[in-house]
Amino acid sequence: MRELNISVRKSDLEKMGCSDISCRRLGGVAVYGPSIHVLDQEIEVISAAINHSAKDHLSLAKNVLGKLTREGAGLESMEKRLFGSILGRQLRFGHLDSIVCASISGAYFRVYVHYTRLSEFHDWLGHAKSILSKEGILEVMSLEKTIFGVRRYNTWSSSAHILSHLVYIGTAEYVDEYSVRLTPGFCHAICQDR
């Protein structure tokens, strides 16, 4: 584990005794480093760790992706804003995409999917939708078993993300945090209208 020598605060570099501070802007965030070479190198290391972590999972919440990235890059700690700006860079280059989901409270949240796994995510979304229209109810655990077979790190969460996206679209609604059901009233509404 090592300390990171780039920061979103110029004062951090000044405290380290750097006199010639370099800067890169990533979205609305300025990232500072002791030289442009070190700055670019550190950004590349974190970017590669983001890609690697995302590729290993069907989908990831931001905090989990942050944790895996920090571990992957061998860092003791990483500022949230710094991680957010480099994650934004990876999104800008298309290595990752985000998918909007709805939580049980109705609030939106975004999950991150590596571009090589997007079609897989959408295939499982279609699969979950068809199970839901047949069975009427779908548990996260049951979908997890269908997709991954055995439980591994983050497999429950990825399955939950699929169902949360169905809630965002409106196909499903939460029964509780472990299961969703087909939104009642659709068929009724359509049949009544005919």
């Binding site: 802007r25 990533l26 979205g27 609305g28 934004g88 860079r89 999104l91 800008r92 280059f93 298309g94 290595h95 995409d97 985000s98 998918i99 909007v100 109705g106 939106y108 975004r110 571009y115 997007l118 965002y168 679209i169 409106g170 196909t171 609604e173 939104t183 009642p184 009233g185 659709f186 068929c187 509404a189 359509i190 209208d193």
Partner: protein, 296 residues
């Protein structure tokens, strides 16, 4: 005779590369490039800034592995990384460079023109219906159910002459659309229809229209309808580097600004097709996704 031949040989037709999912402004409104038959008359801007029609021809097609999502404060859509656009000073910008250099927020572009007098085609209605189906909570051949993105602001009954039924399921609202009915309304008055549909389906409790990136076809029709009403609009993306949702905000108390800033540009790594189109009038440039393109 010889001189004429030399001139003809030296003439290089202005051309530009666009993505097959780009939207061109035809006499029937916004049309996907992939659905266009060439040669085709499309709208563009001449050297005096006038809105005019020219015929474009197909030149070539090439498989590419990425496209660019680009949004300004007044328009958004998909481009090829090799598309060239014109900023408000007439300078040519490569869309891929906006992503690479992260210079999107420093660029100012012309606002989209008022197209409220144009008639919508059946093909465009099919394109809109396709987007609605992709976004639907439930779809059944010729009708579908959409989750309303707001709730509090919906008057459940009385949507005027074009009534779009809204039902409440739990604490959420859903609207039901029938393809034949909505098609008829679009033909009668597309601007009114898209505004009413957006008020019911897309308006959030915060009073903004919330669109998914993939709903850009609906988005461009909506933005054109709002522009026709002389409303000033403002597009908000998640960040300059990426967005999954596009929010359209109505700006009160301002006249429509002719120049709009870039707000977001990023790559989408997915197989696509880059289409090269050409035209003969070198003092004219076509409009794609609400942005004026530049030849070269």
């Amino acid at each position: 005779m010889n001189i004429q031949c030399v001139l003809r040989r030296d003439f290089v037709m202005p051309s530009v590369k666009i993505d097959k999912q780009s939207l061109m402004l035809t006499q029937e409104g916004w049309s996907l490039v992939s659905d266009l038959d060439f040669p085709r008359a499309v709208y563009g801007i001449d050297r005096h800034g006038r809105f005019s029609v020219e015929k474009i021809v197909f030149q070539s097609r090439e498989d590419i592995n990425k496209r660019v999502f680009f949004a300004t404060e007044s328009a958004f859509g998909f481009f090829s990384p090799n598309s060239k656009i014109c900023d408000n000073s007439g300078k040519k910008l490569l869309v891929g460079d906006l992503v690479e250099n992260m210079s999107v927020a420093e660029k100012y572009l012309e606002s989209i023109p008022d197209i409220s007098t144009l008639k919508i085609s059946c093909k465009s209605i099919d394109e809109i219906w396709h987007v609605l189906r992709e976004s639907a909570a439930y779809d059944d051949k010729d009708q579908l159910v959409l989750r309303c993105r707001g709730g509090r602001l919906i008057g459940v009954n009385g949507m005027g002459s074009q009534e779009i039924p809204v039902v409440k399921c739990g604490d959420r609202f859903f609207c039901t659309l029938k393809r034949d009915q909505i098609s008829l309304w679009f033909i009668e008055d597309w601007a009114k229809t898209i505004r009413e549909l957006a008020e019911i389906w897309l308006k959030t409790n915060d009073g903004v229209f919330e669109l998914k990136r993939s709903e850009y076809v609906v988005g461009m029709w909506l933005l054109s309808a709002l522009r026709g009403d002389k409303n000033d609009i403002n597009i908000i993306c998640d960040t300059q580097q990426h967005t999954v949702l596009v929010l359209v905000e109505m700006v009160d108390g301002q006249s429509t600004r002719a120049v709009k800033r870039g707000v977001c540009a990023f790559y989408i790594l997915t197989p696509s097709e880059e289409v090269t189109i050409g035209w003969s009038n070198s003092s004219w440039n076509p409009i794609v996704n609400g942005v004026v393109l530049a030849s070269g």
